[in-house]
């Protein structure tokens, strides 16, 4: 049903825009504007409750059945209702995106922290190895040096 709801959100946005445009032409072209508004309201009246939003059906019914002079404020109410539904339809997705973004950031931070720790451990291990090798090499050098106490063999004459 998620894709159906996303389509509904897009369709409602289109109708909000159409209602707002028609409302702005009420003075210049009252007959045309009222016709457009009533057609949109009729469609929303029929489909609102089908999608599970009876408040759309209720607000659209008020517009469709209103006297012309009462239409403008009722259109504003209908647009407000539609915008609230659009927001409701948007929230779960945005909440999901927000959660995903947070999880992604946390995962990234965790990875970076792990990589940092590993890099540090690696550096320490390398330094430790190098230090050991250095010590071994030094010991070896000292062992090979004449007069060293570590020399097992006879001292060259």
């Amino acid at each position: 049903m998620d894709d159906l709801k996303q389509f509904l959100r897009s369709a409602l946005n289109t109708r909000i825009e159409a209602l707002e445009t028609a409302a702005t032409t009420m003075e210049a072209d009252p007959v045309g504007a009222l016709g457009t508004i009533r057609r949109l309201a009729h469609s929303l009246r029929g489909s609102g409750a089908t999608y599970g939003y009876p408040q759309i059906t209720e607000a659209a019914t008020a517009v469709e059945e209103a006297e012309p002079e009462d239409v403008p404020p009722l259109v504003r109410d209908l647009v407000k209702t539609l915008k609230a539904v659009v927001l409701e339809l948007r929230e779960p997705k945005e909440a999901k995106e927000s959660t995903e973004a947070k999880e992604s950031t946390e995962a990234k931070e965790s990875t970076e922290a792990k990589e940092s720790t590993e890099a540090k451990e690696s550096t320490e291990a390398k330094e430790s190895t190098e230090a050991k090798e250095s010590t071994d090499a030094r010991a070896s050098t000292e062992a090979a040096t004449p007069g060293s106490d570590a020399t097992d063999g006879p001292a060259p004459e």
Binding site: L4, L8, A11, S43, R45, G46, S47, T50, Y51
Partner: protein, 119 residues
């Protein structure tokens, strides 16, 4: 089964179409009489699901036009209407298999349609 859904409201076509397809039915959609007739010419329709009030026409016009086609004389049909209480008897007298009230329940629409097709 193959259902021809005729409604001039894209929101209704989408909602009804969504659940009917999800229930496993083949769906054809039309927003007017001409499109409905063109689809019925080329595809065998098991049930027409018709909005009563179309833009500039009537679901009853679709019934008459489709049933006039060769081989479509007995195509079954049912109506969707926002005035079910007032119109039900008249629509049933036309031979409709049933009348589904708008707003319809998406969760049960497919089973309602299937029952109508069996009558």
């Amino acid at each position: 089964m193959t259902i021809l859904l005729v409604d001039d409201d894209p929101l209704i076509r989408l909602a009804a179409g969504y659940v009917l397809v999800a229930a496993g039915h083949a769906l054809l959609e039309a927003e007017d009489v001409a499109t409905a007739v063109a689809l019925a010419r080329t595809t065998r329709i098991d049930l027409m699901l018709l909005d009563v009030v179309l833009d500039g026409a009537d679901g009853r016009d679709v019934v008459a036009a489709v049933r006039a086609l060769p081989g479509c004389e007995k195509t079954r049909f049912a109506f969707l209407t926002g005035r079910a209480d007032a119109e039900r008897e008249a629509l049933l007298q036309l031979g409709a298999a049933g009348v589904i009230a708008k707003p319809f329940d998406l969760a049960s629409l497919a089973s309602q349609v299937e029952q109508l097709a069996l009558q």
